[in-house]
Subunit: 354 residues, 2 copies
């Protein structure tokens, strides 16, 4: 099938064309640039929701329930699972596997695992590209599930319009196992398994953190905030919590859920709707999407430079020649990189015909 | 202090100079390139050992015990903790915190947390750079601890000479929670908490996996290998396991440990020594280090291109101008990237004086 035919079938909403386009884009096969470029003007309709949290928090169960809820409302849903422990990626044999499969049979739902993607392509870049494809195809909601531990996974979560952070009371350290920075990007907190001991304490901890976050501006929550909180002057905590609420500001709600009993999902959906309304009203949506666009351009630039240099046989042969001097300590990676960029600027410049 | 003075004190083995050099390199402060370049010829002495595994597997306890064992043998040890849940990074308040602190007071040990590093710099690139500094300073062993879940973290583990994968029987799914690809890079497996139920089964599972790995060549272990194993023809498994052992090949040992009781550490140290001897004998060490050097050059090239473009005001202003057309769908990220690279090749080429 020609690229034009494929795009025509994609435009006509054919599921097989969607699957093929996603594969081409995901693996950067021939023509992926042309495809993404031609879809570009149609992106921006879907709401992108990131779900993150520690392994075992129940992200996948909540994802499945959100899919169901969106489907009941007549919305089409794409799911991108970046979490290797997600049942969506085949990573675990949980009790709700059957439910996942029933979801997977619905033509209004598209599920793609990004978990086994190789290490060379940026995971966040790849996820953004596949999300663009699903957006252009007409999915109304995109759910992007990532484990809240790794750095790339945090970058993936940053690509969403709204980010849901799922925590569980079981491990008292569950907040602390998260990658530094995860707490700051969450727009909605969900304490899952809220019927278990420790749920109230976890909720309190999170609310205290949020009070801190609202009033005090610091770059990142220290990984050892558990200690910091204890050390803080209670009067200061109270003062911080009393900062008056700005209507153009978003106060992340801390919701409770028992996903396995399907409890708390409606409140999550409502919070996501409220958050999206806030994003639009405050201009934050535009800002976030602008930032996403900036990142897209940077991603593409980095990818193009990499492709142009490292897929060039002459450059690779030259690099191999340098390795001996590098190993003997006669040359340094910085010197080699400088020479490479100086002598191969034409390669980086690319085909003048473009 | 001038850069020359700092390097002189670094060469004299002053701990304060080491700490300052690490900070400069880690944050890419002015002069970091010159420092790394001047240290380059002195790297390559340290053995780099990566420790990875799921959260809660006991990686940090094993790291602390390895530090102790290496110290007892008169070796100096650097620790790079990339795992946010590691007590080395202040991420958790475990019972062995005191032991960590006693380790931290030893001048023959240097501990650095890389866990809170921002998202912009590549985590693997940053870790390689700090590891080079410690190597040049004269540390004999470098222990690099990462959680085996994230993509960047897997990339970090790939920078080591030997990789230790720590698993625990507690979660029967512990293998499955790992990032695809982690199983393949492990040189030594450790079943920690081996006195708990399920340890034998886990060991069997891993050994079966290794039998598979040795005989059958596939790109990656599928995330759902738990199912695959059950589906496999037993005759084929036996045939695969019977593949004759090649003396120039490494068969990863599957060791048992109860780290909290300090059991099994000597066997781990011995396995690491055996593995290093194999690396040298087989030429694999040279191959791995050569690959690491290639990666270093690629990292530096990517970094330089990024710095030259995105720290340039004119380029950033131009990009801002393009955002409106990008948002309206009149331009695409690929088109913008092509124009940017075509028109700004001189910037990428860099300062001709270098």
């Amino acid at each position: 099938m020609s690229s034009d035919q494929l795009l025509a079938e994609f435009d006509a909403g054919k599921p097989a064309a969607l699957a093929r386009v996603v594969s081409i884009v995901e693996n950067h096969r021939d023509g992926f640039e042309r495809i993404l470029s031609s879809l570009h003007s149609r992106t921006g309709r879907a709401r992108r929701v990131g779900l993150t949290g520690p392994p075992g928090a129940g992200k996948s169960t909540i994802t499945a329930l959100l899919v169901k809820s969106f489907r009941d409302a007549g919305l089409r849903v794409g799911v991108l699972a970046v979490d290797p422990t997600s049942p969506f990626t085949g990573g675990a044999l949980l009790g709700d596997r059957v439910r996942m499969e029933s979801v997977a049979l619905d033509p209004g739902v598209f599920i793609r695992s990004m978990a086994t993607r190789g290490s060379l392509g940026g995971l966040a870049a790849a996820t953004r590209e596949v999300a663009d494809v699903l957006d252009a195809f007409g999915f109304d909601r995109l759910l992007i599930e990532t484990v809240g531990v790794g750095q790339s996974e945090l970058d993936v979560a940053r690509t969403a319009d709204s980010t849901l952070l799922v925590l569980v009371p079981e491990s008292g350290d569950s907040i602390q196992t998260l990658k530094a920075g995860v707490m700051e990007i969450a727009d909605v907190f969900v304490v899952n398994k809220a019927d278990r001991p420790g749920a109230d304490r976890l909720r309190n901890d999170v609310e205290l953190m949020l009070g801190l976050r609202k009033g005090v501006s610091f770059g990142r929550v220290p990984a050892h905030h558990g200690i910091e909180l204890k050390r803080m002057n209670p009067a200061r905590v109270a003062r911080v919590a009393a900062v008056e609420e700005n209507p153009s500001e978003w106060t992340p709600p801390v919701l409770s859920a028992v996903a396995v009993k399907q409890e708390g999902i409606d409140a999550i959906v409502a919070a996501l709707d409220r958050h999206f309304a806030y994003l639009e009203r405050s201009g934050t949506l535009r800002k976030r999407r602008r930032e996403r666009m900036r990142e897209r351009v940077r991603d593409v630039v980095a990818q193009k430079v990499g492709d142009r240099l490292w897929k060039d046989r002459g450059t690779m042969a030259w690099l191999e020649e340098q390795l001996a001097s590098l190993e003997e300590g006669k040359a340094t990676p910085f010197g080699v990189a400088d020479r490479l960029l100086r002598d191969r600027a034409e390669l980086v410049r690319g085909d003048q015909k473009t």
